[in-house]
Amino acid sequence: MAKCDLSIHLDDDKTSYRGGDTVTGTVEVRTDAEVQCKALTVECQWRTHGKGNTARGRAQRLDLAQGIWPPGAIQRYAFSFELPHGPFTYHGHYLNIGWFIRAQADIPWALDPKAEQEIGVEPNPGQEPEWANLVHRMDALPEALRAQIGAPAAPLTPQALRVSSALGYGCLSIIVIPLLLITMFGLYHGISLLRNGGDWIEAALWIGVPLFVLAGLARGPLAVLLGTLRNRWAGKRLQDIDFDVTPLTLRRGESVQIRFSCRPDQNTVLNRATVRIEAEERVTQGSGTSRRTHRKQVYSHEEDLPMPHSLSAGLPFQREIEVTIPADAPPSFIAVDNRLDWTIRLQLDIPRWPDWSGERAILIHP
């Protein structure tokens, strides 16, 4: 047996609480020899577990005792913590959020004995949302959501600016400039060959290969660019597009209004307009080269936006749809390396024309 054992006993053996409740209990210390303790502490803290790096909240901490415990004694120290209104206990696929009471004795020149007890923390139905308890990285929110929950605008940090500019200049100087030079030389040489009556196969290779390599390397940025261009192109036909979601923050069981309006400049046929509401866990594991991001969709609901078969040129068009968030939906959560995001996507399928799509982030409170 160890010299010193700790255990945690919650009053009434209660292990399930609501936000705002008080957790009370005792830390029991059993010793089988004289033990000098520099500090006996107990903490109450949430932390994530699952596939991502551990994120944790600020611990409430109590210093319970210090001094010498006699052999064979049982000491009991009472503690009490008031639980905040979030984050709440959650068990997902990659992301889990748990609340823990943890006691630890600091014993000089020995392994520090510890004890830990998990408690469940559920939302309190009458409580107003306290976003700061669910969103622990305000800088990760879109500007519209930050404004909605009264968080200050996130300035770019000097480090972010330094890293992004260093990366940008690095890529530019190392990859893009030589490739552009090679492409230009290839094009010039290929065209010169064609003009001077050279072999057309050789000319095609001089022109085609650098262009092919350039297009391959620029695939990522090209996809982003094409997405933007596609929306712009679709918007040229639909004109004055407004995609609005209200409210951007809501409770489970409440409804969200999704409104779309436009004024097409010519008669436009629509195949389909779909609204998709999704919740996704996104966690990051490891660091450096072994850093990996894991994603899991934990909720998805698709609904057709009722649309006429065709929209008339010059006439304003508006449609609204109301979608209810299920009462048992997982609430939003954003912390370092661990998040649960909600998004609403609208996609318009226009035949023989680029599709239009829009996306809005929302926050769900329990």
Partner: protein, 232 residues
Amino acid sequence: MNRPAAPRSRQLTGGSPWHRAGLRWNPFGEPPPEDLAALIVPTEPADAVDWLRQPRVVQQYLGDAGRGKTARLRRLAVFFPGAPYVYLAEDEPVPPLPDPAGIPGPLALLLDEAQRLPSRRRRRLFAAVARSGGSLVLASHADLSTEVISAGLTCRTVCIAGLSTDDLLAILRRRIAWARLADAAPALPQPDDAQRLIAEFGDDVRSILDTLYERYQDWAINGGRHPWRSVT
């Protein structure tokens, strides 16, 4: 210090699906930093610890990603509490390295992803370690022994490859011991289970842990088949 993290938590009534499985969480998830050292299975720690207590020596771990270089460094860090552990991240500025002369104890530094340190700074570091009379641990994808020897240090290189059934069983059982509830006895993998995993993934421990995470999720959350064949 060598034993796995002791389970300390009692059953949470209702709530957690993991508690119904006799576990506190998925044993193959990412452990918090404070639990990491206890989950690492020592393969040659006593030998390495003795070696690193000598002056002007370097232990270099070479191997592919996911084979356990970082795990070995973390494990050694437990035996040298005064020695700083430094991880060199990709695409990030190299942090200032501690002066070996200012480190109390025989081991000056545990340097992870050492190949990312620019060669000039590497040579300066090796020279500083040689001057201080301390020792050094490196984890690297590239063999740095020539530079180490040139600095007047003695280098011992451990190439990490291959995974024995016993080592894998120990890794998996430690994970389950770390995750289990105090009053529960969840099923443990048997040699057959470990052999099957080695046949499927070779010595890539990271891929084995990733797969087992999914299998445990499927079993504990979705009621799927138990991850160990030995459990019916």
